[in-house]
Amino acid sequence: MSQTPLLEVRHLTTIFPTETGIVKAVDGVSFHIAPEETVGIVGESGCGKSVTAESIMRLFDEKTTEYRGQIIYNGVDLLQLSEEKMRSVRGNDISIIFQDPMSSLNPVYTIGDQIAEAIMLHQKLGKSQAKRKAVQLLSLTGISDPEERLHAYPHELSGGMRQRVMIALALSCEPRLLIADEPTTALDVTIQAQILELMNELKSTLRMGIMLITHDLSVVAQMCSRVIVMYLGEVIEEADVVTLFDHPFHPYTLGLLKSVPQIEGVRKGKLYEIKGTVPQMDEVSNSCRFSPRCPFATEICRTSPPALEEASDGHRVRCWHYKEIAANGGAEHELEFEPY
Amino acid sequence: ESTGHQSSEQETEETTPVSGGTLDIAYPANPATLDPHLTTNQATRDVSRNIYEQLLTLNKNYEVVPQLAESYEISEDGKTYTFHLRQGVTFHNGKEMKAEDVVASMEKWLSTSTQGQANLQGAQFSEVDDYTVKLTLEKPSLVGSYILADTSPFPGIMPKEVIDTAGPEGVKEFIGTGPYKLEEWNTDQYVHLNKFLDYAGEETESNGLSGKKNAYLDEIYFRYVTDESTRVAGIMTGEYDVAFGIPFDNADQIEGTDGVSNYFSEGGIVTYVFNKKAGPFSDQKLRQAFNTALNYDEALTAAYSDSRFYELDSSLALTSQTDWYSDAGAEQYNVNDIEKAKQLVEESNYDGEEVVILTTRDYPEQYNLAVVAQEVLKSIGVNAKLDVYDWPTVQERRTDENNFDLFAVSFATRATIHQYPFLESSANYPGWTDSPEIDNLLGEIQAAASIEEAKPLVEQLNEKNWEYLPIIKLGNIQNLIAVRDNVKGFDDLVGPILWNVSLDE
């Protein structure tokens, strides 16, 4: 790592108490994001991607939620900050964009009000100045006639527009880190392309780090420099994007890559299937969490959980058998690409 | 015994009454009309007696005395009455009262008054001169003058032009000659009366409804408060000066509150009325069975809470009405013998049909008596049920003989027995008394030359009443009125007398 990371998450564990026991939605997750870097987080639904993101912002009700570990930003541990200090970080240093642009904007206020609110709060600007800034932000995100759009309510805009507004809102205070939690899942392909393009542009103009959460591997392939794969609350593999696509070590990553139908190349008769479904946490408490579905699983996988090991420089994996898989399985995993 | 007595000792130190002030009265029911000719409603009577006056009225011994008439004579044959009107009596509208007003008023009253039609057959009023009015009858009537002094519907005298514009629901303007005039009537809220400054009353001493009317008060408000608890609470806190219709169970509460006292007024008689036209009680034996089984004390306690509020008495008239009083037939009164009653049921034609007791919760006493009746009937093996309706429904339902067998009701005191509607068959009062003997007796009394001559007939009537049992007279009752101690001179005769009331400041 040449640069000092912008954000460093160390052994983050987020615990929700419920009436019958605790839920560790995120369990000992560590990773870091450098300035101007896009890190992708992928994984199946419910594996803890969003909880990780929201834990960084400390958005859960702290009366009931417990955070463990450290989130180092700018040399301080966010988890140790007072609520008031944390508020000045939120939206100012770190911003977040959620998956569903409709439900993420307050339906009863105009978008101008909602953007200006954050600006007024963090930059101590007056209302008219804040509005002016909002106009700039909107035009930055490529919205045509932003002055007019300022007075629009969220429901009057299309999904793509709303997501642009969300981005404008997130960028309002020029954050150092942007967390994008499935920012394009709810959008159509053509709109998705617009939004991803926009985020890429903004990353370089505003020089911020991006944490991009998605379940779409193609999006990761196009956007990220490093990828973290999560499964059931844990990081199971981390690598730079090319390594991950070319030499995935973890059987789950492998399966994931193989089970996606290809947009290019030869159409294959049958898709690869990861057998079974995501198990319940207590079923796998003393084993590798992927073992019930893993074609490579052996006795050891079912009796003790593997640790996250550094397989090569910057490539970490949580698997007992990754070396064997790297030796033969990895080779078998070849994708033929015909350049378009 | 006087008709009313105030239980506090305030009467001992009599001071000269202060003029002025406003009397706030909490009254349970809004009058349907203020036209006194139309209705027997007490709510109407209690207000309009302050506004209107009659030719004749009653003193506190229920004797007939002149009021707007200076004097009157009855001809030898008893068929002609001549009234000499007082001169200089003005209506509230400033006009002087003349014979034409009296004739118009009396004619209108006659056309609606059941009593007038029944007892003053073929009555004809005519103007002799401006201040003399003549009444001619087809038949002489011993009770004629009493009827003319009737308290409700009472023949209040009003200007002719007001009568000319009256509709079926009565007159539209309420103008009389009384000590108070109507300022404002806000239906369901209040009737506001004002002192009539040009009042020309009698100068004789006040006596019952007759004599001098002082009108000390500037204003009187009858405020209509339907909820008993609210009236009680209001009189206790001084919101009102007088509260009518206090539940008997609250008497001690009132007595125990500083600044308020109970006032008992003559409340008339309370009765069970049988349906004699149809159903089980058309059988006299079954009526007697019920009467024999009835524990009068128990019934009256249930309705009137304790013996302070009622008086056991078999006579149709009050003890104070010496002319009409008779305890004949009292051996049938309060027998309270279940065994004998059961035997009477045996003897009757009763074979298990359901007896319907019609009642309402609008009048708790009626309701309580109905509940008692049901229990009594059960105890002698008669199957009974309560039909509880709101009051107007009861009124309508009881006009159909198939709807009920029994109801309990009280009647305001009347100057003569004839004025009670339940005796005469021609009155058609619900229950439909149909006893030729009673009708005859009533007729004979009417035709009698004098009270003395009528006396034995009255005895016979009472006797007959207890045998035939058109109704059961349970006893005489008291009304409970709560009066603040700063209210002086409150009196009552078949309704409150307010014109001698004054307020201490």
């Binding site: 392909v189 392939a221 696509f245 089970s259 996606v260 947009i263 290019e264 294959k268 049958k270 | -």
Partner: protein, 336 residues
């Protein structure tokens, strides 16, 4: 799949000039607005074939499917299943037709009655059509459950006891109950995780070859459609703008919209950083569709004629047709 069907036989389903306008009462009772959800769409599906329908949200894909099943009444147009005229069938014949056409829905959570055991849900189509005795139906339910990868015991469970992918499999079993010839699959995998999606796709493909089923496969994920469909129709704002065999469509997309659509799909590998052309703007409202070619508002090649004249469908090569003025000459020359 991917078999080079020679369409010599009669199509199983033939749709001609299907149009569906919804009446939208927004505004007032006095003026009705028409949502032009489907406009003059024609295509055919052959036996054993999968026809893919792609397009952006709101482009009328589901409406096409629903109208075919008479879940919505068409505004105009004709549709023939075998030789039955779907849109003019009397209710009895319609019921019979429904045995042959079934549907699989997108949302596995709301496509099963939560209060009914899944065995009942699967048996219900047979009950509706009075097929079999109770015993026979039960047998059939077990058979179907096993076919989609469950055991007979699962029949007694309630939907909430299943995950999304499992529910989707139950939905498939339910659709198979009456042994249909055509299944309309309305985005059957869009709601599923990647690792589950492949299970369902594989199952659908297996079933197709087993029973010689035909699918109308509606999806917005191009890679999925490419994987499963033999021919693909591309819809834009109610219009079927391009139609071609799968490989031809992906290698030689003709309509500018199709080209943009393909270009918008991110490449599946980081080394393939392709030069993407981004389509600007949003899909216009179907309440007030643009005049002429519906795509001209977003089309960089738009000409004057595009604003005025609605392009007709041109067959550029065998089985490949497009609605675009750019190809007017080529169609005449037929030399593509």
């Amino acid at each position: 799949m991917n078999s080079n069907l020679s369409h010599t036989e009669e199509p199983l389903l033939r749709i001609e000039h299907l149009t569906k306008h919804f009446v939208s009462r927004s505004g007032s009772i006095l003026r009705k607005n028409h949502v032009k959800a489907v406009e003059d769409v024609s295509f055919s599906i052959y036996k054993g074939e999968t026809y893919g329908l792609v397009g952006e949200s709101g482009s009328g894909k589901s409406t096409t499917g629903r109208t075919l099943l008479r879940l919505a009444e068409p505004t105009s147009g004709k549709a023939y299943f075998e030789d039955r005229d779907i849109f003019s069938l009397p209710s009895k014949a319609l019921k019979a037709l429904r045995k042959d056409m079934q549907m699989i829905f997108q949302d596995p959570h709301s496509s099963l009655d939560p209060k009914k055991r899944v065995g009942y849900s699967i048996a219900e189509p047979m009950m509706i059509h009075g097929q079999g005795t109770k015993k026979e139906r039960q047998e059939r339910v077990f058979e179907l459950l096993e076919r989609v990868g469950f055991t007979a015991q699962h029949a007694n469970r309630f939907p909430y006891e299943f995950s999304g992918g499992q529910r989707q499999r139950i939905g498939i079993a339910k659709a198979l109950a009456l042994q249909p010839k055509l299944i309309v699959c309305d985005e059957p995998v869009s709601a599923l995780d990647v690792s589950i999606q492949s299970q369902i796709l594989n199952l659908l493909i297996e079933l197709q070859s087993e029973y010689r089923l035909s699918y109308l496969f509606i999806a917005h994920d191009l890679s999925v459609v490419r994987h499963i469909a033999d021919r693909i129709g591309v819809m834009y704002l109610g219009h079927l703008v391009e139609q071609a065999p799968t490989d031809k469509l992906f290698t030689h997309p003709l309509h500018p919209y199709t080209q943009f659509l393909l270009s918008a799909v991110p490449a599946p590998h980081p080394k393939l950083k392709k030069e993407r052309i981004i389509l600007q703007g949003d899909i216009p409202s179907p309440l007030h569709p643009p005049s002429g070619c519906v795509f001209h508002t977003r089309c960089p090649y738009a000409m004057e004629v595009c604003k005025q004249v609605r392009p007709v469908s041109l067959e550029i090569s065998s089985g490949h047709s497009v609605q675009c003025h750019l190809y007017n000459d080529q169609a005449e020359g037929k030399d593509f």
